[in-house]
């Protein structure tokens, strides 16, 4: 890990050794948006793992060119499956902290030190980014309502009270990552994480983060009809167990 400490100043801001941090980025056809995300992360965090989830575009090449570790799903298995692949890899590679990060540029790397700090201090096992505690730039009303519905749904099904249930920015301690076993391959993994949080007794905390919405990020975001699909998968996934 040659780029362990790029500057003394950055080391000071970051509450942990960046070599212990693994950033997991699931990416499906994200060649056009992934580059800037990696450019922002890699100078500070040497271990960035991109899971190319069966993309048909240049996602893997873009990630490899910039020096990220690339794991390739030979066929598309969904974001939940990709996250679990990245988490499993990171654990095997000796990660102490695992960050889940979206490929589309909606997250801000500047939020990471504040997300890592409580986990590094042992105050909790997981931190979850919340755009409602923090700032959501240019969020459309429809998205706001959809996320409110998700909040109610999550509270009713998982009993976990959160302000923002579908935020891809999370930090897991090694212990927490080992407790998780995501079996919901597609988007219902978000609710699944909360179920496993509650049953495993892991301590979690929400941290304010900034989410930037742009035409680019909204283009591939979840629509309201997709939300019903997610709820269906989640409910029937539970029945099966």
């Amino acid at each position: 890990m040659a780029t362990q400490t790029s500057t003394a100043q950055k080391q000071e801001r970051l509450p942990v050794d960046p070599a212990q941090v693994f950033i997991v980025i699931p990416a499906y056809n994200e060649a056009s948006r992934l580059g800037p995300v990696l450019d922002a992360l890699l100078p500070q965090y040497p271990n960035v793992v991109v899971i190319d989830d069966g993309s048909t575009d240049e996602t893997a090449q873009v990630a490899r060119q910039r020096g990220a570790v690339v794991l390739r799903h030979v066929i598309n298995r969904g974001q939940g499956a990709a996250l679990q692949t990245g988490i499993t890899y990171s654990l095997r590679a000796g990660a102490e902290y695992i960050v889940t990060f979206d490929a589309d540029g909606q997250h801000n790397p500047a939020d990471l030190p504040a997300m890592l700090a409580p986990v590094a201090a042992g105050e909790c096992d997981i931190t979850l980014g919340s755009r409602f505690l923090g700032r959501a730039e240019n969020m459309p009303l429809s998205r706001r309502l959809l996320l409110l519905a998700a909040r109610v749904f999550t509270y009713l099904t998982s009993g976990v009270k959160l302000t923002d249930c579908h935020n891809g920015l999370r930090v897991l301690s090694r212990r927490a990552a080992r407790c998780l076993n995501l079996r919901q391959d597609r988007m219902a993994h978000a609710s699944e994480i909360y179920d496993q949080l509650r049953t495993s007794g892991l301590q979690y905390r929400e941290i304010p983060v900034t989410i930037s919405y742009s035409a680019e990020t909204l283009r591939k975001g979840q629509s309201a009809s997709a939300a019903f699909n997610v709820a269906f998968h989640y409910i029937f996934g539970k029945v099966r167990q």
Partner: protein
């Protein structure tokens, strides 16, 4: 004998013979079950009164209604069984895809 009885009776009889002969050759319990089901179907087609008797015994007015209820329940049950199997298959595929992805790049010379 009605046209319905000829057509459906023949169909059931052929299925029964197929299942029975397969059971005779391979001695699989499943074939015996199929043979029993096709026998029941053959009886119901050729002697509809039997379904009426059964329906009355269960407090249902018509034999046809009994058949309909049984079908509805069986359909839902079979559908659910398939759904469970499908989900399990999906999970297995994901495990395989994940293993392939991890094998391609074994821990990248990392510390542990």
């Amino acid at each position: 004998m009605t046209g319905f009885q000829v057509i459906f009776g023949l169909f059931c009889a052929v299925q029964l013979l197929t299942a029975a002969s397969r059971f005779a050759r391979q001695r699989r319990g499943l074939d015996l079950l199929y043979a029993a089901i096709w026998t029941a179907a053959l009886v119901a087609v050729l002697l509809p009164e039997t379904t009426v008797l059964l329906a009355h015994a269960l407090g249902i007015a018509r034999g046809v209604d009994l058949a309909l209820y049984v079908l509805a329940v069986l359909f839902l049950w079979a559908h659910y069984q398939h759904y469970i199997r499908y989900k399990r298959l999906e999970e297995h595929i994901t495990v395989l895809v994940r293993e392939l992805a991890l094998r391609e790049l074994p821990a990248n010379g990392a510390s542990h």
